[in-house]
Symmetry: C2
Subunit: 303 residues, 2 copies
């Protein structure tokens, strides 16, 4: 099953020629999720071939403009393109009011429903689950209430060894139990062990998004062992005082979190407009955590 991240905007507050404000598109087991929606996100989606109407969940980390000023426009466009399927938007207190006001003031009545779910930004919690994925939120530490997000696959089923199962002539009623990792006692009182008829399920994959935040070790339990971590790295060491003052991270801050959380791979983004490229970020981060990439708009990563 697919699990991929498309970077729609990798810049910080000031957009540049090459970096739009924050936004990412996540496909996970045929669920379609947008994280953050800075100005111009809908144009980036068009540019990078993201289908608007597939998105069912939008997660807004915080209410700085570079993370949500594109949301009203995106919703308008979804409406104009004929959307009738509802959408769920998660974000901080105040988001619903501002978005509804922006739409109402122009007389726009959407043909689809929006369910707004307010995140208090104070504790880690499971905010969505179905049979294939889970979405969790956890608090980051920024100048305003800010949420990180963790998207992970649900634990998968054990793989049935079909030939062996058939050969032993077991009842098909056992199949789902074995897939669930349960042993079965048959009508004669004999125990059949799931481990004899299955191989372990493939590992579940997970992705975490942390932007914007100062260096904040409290997030580590929430993101431990993820396959892929996106962590903001607005600054390099040269501006580490500025990073602290504005509650942002340096590349090294992000790399330290990555190594302490034992993640497999680190993506750096939210790069300040003062940098022409991410070379210095990459160099610095790699001194701490080697498997690091500085993302560019349009990049696509498989989890």
């Amino acid at each position: 099953m697919n699990f991929s991240i498309t970077i729609l905007g990798s810049g910080a507050a000031l957009p540049t020629f090459s970096r739009n404000p924050s936004s990412q598109y996540i496909e996970c087991n045929n669920r379609h999720i947008l994280i953050d929606c800075g100005e111009g996100t809908q144009m980036q989606m068009r540019k990078f071939g993201v289908k608007f109407q597939r998105i069912s969940h939008i997660l807004i980390s915080h209410l700085h403009g570079d993370h949500f000023f594109g949301l009203a426009g995106l919703l308008s466009t979804m409406h104009l393109l004929g959307r009738d399927k509802g959408i769920t938007i998660y974000g901080p207190q105040g988001l619903e009011q501002i978005i509804r006001s922006q739409l109402e003031i122009g007389g726009t009545k959407l043909d689809f429903g929006i369910t707004f779910i307010t995140l208090d930004g104070k504790s880690s919690q499971l905010i969505f689950e179905d049979k294939l994925i889970e979405i969790h939120t956890f608090p980051l530490k920024h100048r305003v209430p800010t949420n990180g997000f963790l998207i992970k696959e649900k634990t998968k089923e054990y793989n049935l060894l079909g030939d062996l199962f058939k050969q032993d002539g077991l009842s098909i009623k056992f199949i789902q139990k074995f897939k669930n990792g349960e042993d079965v006692v048959d009508e004669n009182g004999k125990t059949h062990y799931f481990k004899d008829y299955t191989t372990p399920p493939p590992p579940t994959r997970s992705y975490a998004y942390c932007s914007d935040t100062i260096y904040y070790e409290n997030i580590i339990p929430s993101i431990s062992n993820v396959d892929l971590l996106y962590h903001e790295a607005t600054f390099t060491e040269l501006h580490k005082q500025r990073a602290k003052a504005t509650f942002h991270s340096t590349a090294i801050d992000a790399a330290k979190i990555a190594i302490k959380a034992n993640v497999k791979k680190l993506l750096l983004g939210h790069i300040s407009s003062r940098f022409e490229n991410g070379d210095e970020h990459l160099k610095e981060a790699k001194t701490v955590f080697d498997n690091t990439i500085v993302v560019e708009d349009g990049n696509n990563f498989e989890v």
Copy 2:
């Protein structure tokens, strides 16, 4: 003196690869004005080399998102770039509240002042003048209160014939009077006629912006004889019922207005995303008014 229009967005409600939502940058006698500010306007300004901080006036025609969803982002960016010079924003009732809410919710306190001036959209009026330019507004007819704008140069001074003036040994106190087109009586009671010492001032130039609107002849007195008219032409004749139903214009509607208002040149914009290019608009408009151009993002026109 300069008088030019840069098209930042020539599209309608749905942005396309080549057309951003509505916005234009006007330079007129060293005044710097933005008309409308759809999502992505700040990126377009950067792309087309428009200097953010020069802008002193922003005119918002109406509160459909494709005409103002870029405003909060632009103001944030002006702030982050260190602006301290105030700005004046003209627009319909409700604009101030929505923009201030968008900024306040993220804790943004601008380092510059915004003066919001509410346009009632009901009558033509002079909304700004200084010694070099005037800005007028006039009602368009759309689904929500909508304003057209007329920017024109102030009547200029008569050109003094310096050599003749000097040769006749007149007092320098007469100069400004002659430039103003006034005759002067000297201390001996003799009248000196300004026409003898001047040539007429160069003609004043003017530009009118009409978007969005249904075909609406009431605007003609406000835009008569302008050098350059931008008129929306969302649709072609094929969709003229749709144009009427949505209070938009066809290319022929725009051309009829242009000819009845005796303008010199017509620019067509606000082209629906359903058209791959403006060829059909141009063909149709030219059957009525020949001096027509369908604009593209990035086009620059001298008035």
